[in-house]
């Protein structure tokens, strides 16, 4: 088999159909020009090595770009990914938690629940991540190849202008609220709400059953008491989610946000105190169990309960106070 034929085939098979024949003909005539009149295989090899790797030569002939996202679009591409990713993952995780927790029928016990909350949600987030990357890349790939100019995607017009800066809020680093904070806050809401309304199935004393699985034998809290607060709890959930959305949109601490944050924290403290100081909050069976466990008297048990309630309230107040103070402090920051 002729080396020249193979070389030309190796170049042209990488090229668009319509230009193949012409390039093949030109290449053949050029190679023959380069060769001496009466050539040997050695001469052919020498000539072909002057032309170099057929893949590289084909690459030179090809006029479409040999990259996915070019330098003109790269920055925009990365910033779109950074903008879309937290929203996509946040929303899909929120939906995932809502759907799977509402469908979850308490089968599989605590192990299954942990799998939903941690394992499967990581999987969900990864799937969304890959999807988002794929679609964004595809859109940019098409945009770039359809000849759209990256500057035409700018809101204000073709060329950058210092006036454009006026549309962008100035956010000093210490005032900034990362989007992750808002997302974490919403996910936290979903988790605690779930445990609050299902406390009788999760929080309490666990013992190993026959199949060596942990099983809740008695709940710590009185579910009826917890449920009786539902209207206030609902109001609190709305406040908490509104605060998260406010943070997301605002992107930085302002006095308005700090005041809202203060109201929210006050609400949280009052609600906590009211619920945990309710005399029936801790279930009677749990108190009996504890009495047996520590072999103590009723008085000692009461004292311990009060002590735990006191410490819990103190911790709540301290964290809330710090949280409120920090909000106001950040709202007051003027510079970087």
């Amino acid at each position: 088999m002729n080396l020249i034929d193979i070389y030309i085939q190796e170049v042209t098979r990488r090229l668009p159909e319509k230009s193949r024949d012409d390039i093949a003909m030109e290449l053949r005539s050029t190679i023959e020009d380069m060769l001496p009149d009466d050539y040997s295989e050695e001469d052919v090899k020498k000539t072909l090595s002057e032309l170099g790797d057929p893949a590289l030569l084909a690459n030179e002939y090809r006029d479409r770009p040999a990259y996915l996202i070019g330098p003109l679009f790269y920055d925009l591409y990365i910033s779109v990914i950074k903008m879309v990713m937290p929203i996509a993952i946040g929303i899909s995780l929120a939906i995932y938690y809502m759907v799977s927790l509402s469908e979850w029928n308490r089968e599989g016990g605590i192990g299954k629940l942990m799998a939903i909350l941690f394992g499967e949600s990581i999987w969900t987030a990864m799937t969304i991540f890959i999807h988002a990357i794929f679609w964004i890349t595809l859109v940019f790939f098409v945009l770039e190849r359809s000849g759209v100019s990256p500057t035409s995607l700018r809101k204000t017009g073709e060329k950058w202008n210092p006036e454009d800066l006026k549309a962008i809020p100035f956010i000093p680093k210490k005032k900034a609220i990362p989007k992750a904070e808002a997302i974490a806050s919403i996910i936290w809401t979903l988790i605690w709400v779930f445990f609050y309304f299902n406390a009788d199935h999760f929080i309490g004393v666990y013992e190993k059953n026959r199949v060596n699985d942990l099983e809740l034998i008695l709940p710590a809290f009185n579910q009826e008491v917890l449920l009786s607060y539902w209207p206030v709890i609902l109001l609190f959930i709305i406040t908490e989610i509104t605060l998260a959305i406010f943070k997301w949109i605002n992107r930085q601490w302002t006095y308005k946000l700090a005041i809202f944050n203060g109201v929210y924290n006050l609400f949280s403290i009052v609600l906590t105190i009211v619920i945990i100081t309710n005399a029936d909050f801790i279930s009677a069976s749990f108190i009996d169990y504890m009495l047996n466990l520590f072999n103590g008297t009723q008085a000692a048990a009461d004292e311990m309960t009060n002590w735990i309630i006191g410490v819990t309230i103190a911790i709540f107040i301290i964290t809330a106070a710090y949280n409120v103070f920090d909000g106001f402090r950040r709202a007051g920051i003027k510079k970087f």
Binding site: D22, I23, M25, E26, L27, S29, T30, E32, D33, M34, E50, L51, G52, L56, L57, E60, Y61, D63
Partner: protein
């Protein structure tokens, strides 16, 4: 160091490549004859760069081409178009201006050293 130097050298040469090729296309040339012309003038050019470049210039309408099949071997001849000549003249002027500017910069640098 040497690979960095090589990449800058390649970059410098690449900028002048189109000018060098256009300068030789007032009369029709085929691929290999152009290589020889350039080599005689001391301009080293990778053949794997030159042939694709010629096609690109044709696509940009700076040169026109036609196949000559009268000789024993068919050859594709390239020659400057009117538009190509115009672009070539302007590039040439630009090149002269640039070399003047750069020469005066480099000369100043040499004088500083000798002081």
């Amino acid at each position: 160091m040497s690979s960095l130097l090589d990449s800058y050298k390649t970059e410098l040469r690449r900028g002048t490549l189109v000018l060098a090729v256009l300068s030789q296309l007032h009369t029709p040339q085929y691929g290999y004859s152009l290589v020889q012309l350039l080599e005689t003038a001391g301009v080293a050019i990778e053949q794997s760069t030159l042939y694709p470049l010629l096609r690109r210039l044709e696509k940009q309408e700076l040169v026109t081409s036609n196949w000559d099949t009268t000789e024993s071997r068919p050859r594709k001849y390239y020659v400057l178009s009117d538009y190509g000549s115009e672009v070539y003249e302007q590039l040439k002027e630009e090149w002269k201006r640039m070399t003047l500017e750069l020469n005066s910069l480099l000369k100043g640098e040499d004088n500083d050293e000798s002081d």
